[in-house]
Symmetry: C2
Subunit: 322 residues, 2 copies
Amino acid sequence: MTPPLAIALHGGAGILKRSKLDAAADRDFRTALSAALDRGWDILQARGSALDAVETVTRALEDSPLFNAGRGSVYTSAGTHEMDAAIMSGREGDFGAVAGVTAVRNPVSLARAVMEQLDAVFLVGTGAGDFAHACGMAVEPPEYFHTTARVEQLESARRSNQTPLDHDAEVEKYGTVGAVALDAAGDLAAATSTGGITNKRPGRVGDSPVPGAGTFADNSTCAVSCTGEGEAFLRCCAAHEVAARMRHGGAGLAAAAHAVIHSTVPGKGGLVAVDRNGTVALPFNTEGMFRAWRTSGGRGGVAIYRGEQGETASPAERPWAH
Amino acid sequence: MTPPLAIALHGGAGILKRSKLDAAADRDFRTALSAALDRGWDILQARGSALDAVETVTRALEDSPLFNAGRGSVYTSAGTHEMDAAIMSGREGDFGAVAGVTAVRNPVSLARAVMEQLDAVFLVGTGAGDFAHACGMAVEPPEYFHTTARVEQLESARRSNQTPLDHDAEVEKYGTVGAVALDAAGDLAAATSTGGITNKRPGRVGDSPVPGAGTFADNSTCAVSCTGEGEAFLRCCAAHEVAARMRHGGAGLAAAAHAVIHSTVPGKGGLVAVDRNGTVALPFNTEGMFRAWRTSGGRGGVAIYRGEQGETASPAERPWAH
């Protein structure tokens, strides 16, 4: 029997209301999500590793100016970019993460270098930058990370003295990218990358790079990448809670993921998750979540809003996955 | 009926073999542990909060040069001190943490200021230092953190080009301090603080400040503070795993804590934990763990080695707690 394959990605939850995203922008987002997904799927189909697939997908999303990670990262209150990323293998529980990284083109690959080259698993601040330099990671000048829309968001946030802009740029509040995958060897992996929150205090770290909060993978349960209000996901260890509900509570992936997003997390956001059978879950409690997924069972899609296929309103009502 | 009270603390696991700790040092450690415990117990008895109790205990241990946190912090490979700390309330899940902090006398109090004064919950690096300055945290010059023994450890580690010194200074490998408490209002709290690992790469963060890894509290399950190989505790979300085994698996505190330390964590260390009934658990898989505890049920003690009261070799064999 052919082993199941599956991949899912997100480009952030808490997006613009449908009325505010024009047709051209809608198309651009879907094209970028689909292209990133294809790169990961090609790796899985060639019997590549889930780890390579999630890193490649996350790099593709980091390289796009559309998403709040890598090139498209938002500005801190100091007018700088501080990026966080993590990657985890479900086979041995290997993990690598970086936080507060500047200039590095692909923070997720720096996280993987931490995982593979160091005894440490979590490096922050200038120490992470020093390691990036030591291992020859590609870096970019500030102009690379400059996007006019992000500057406008920063200026708007400064005027209103807020980090979030609830009414018209919710996407910037919860912007993150991430991916999960199951490969032909039966291994799971997860990766997450973010620029954080517009106008954030320098040094602020959310859930994305934290094992068990924004990123988690364990072959016996699931791989999870979260997006949303980082502080809320951190406080409840959201990604690990999905795995715990499966391992200790006997829940299936869809029920566990749904419960965490709709009951456990004390805030807004969503996640993508995959289990060892290739089941995919994509729950969110926001207006929408940029997402794409594909399984060898024939499921797949690209979606943005609530009500499109792929959101799990209730796993009992919508056992669509796998 | 008088509500139960309980408090427990640790000063690190993976200590010297009994033969290497002379009588004077043994006495000094027990005196310091006991004094710190008393300060927390006094707060609980006066109907103070668990949050105040764990902060006060952790500050007392940070102020002692004997333990690897605050004043007694070990040196990084750069010859500096980088400290990490966290505090969490089980009532609302409020959390605050800092990592990579220099000069601050009491990192646990900076973590509490993050929790109480910011929207962010986790601040790292220079951003954490800037916040410490902004909120008037007491800082100390490098001499304050200087201890001859720590310098000798750094020089020894540099000579052998290792971070850990397995054979004769295991205490420095897993040095951490922390506390958990249950107060008269039924609230749980946990706090952890550390200087990390001798000769660590600047920027390296272990489990101590990470919610769900080294520190966790939730009134419906337990409060936990861990000590040990930080990377191992991070990868398995050790503290949150204790709570998950209780919430989703129906385990009691002693069984859950024992399973995490003796089965889940892929490395050496221990933890202190307390539940809403005032049960205390103190499991470790090392030669010993500096520890002290007291409950209104009449239990209490100060211990260092395996075989003294207070270690939970097996909860079935030793249902001593509470």
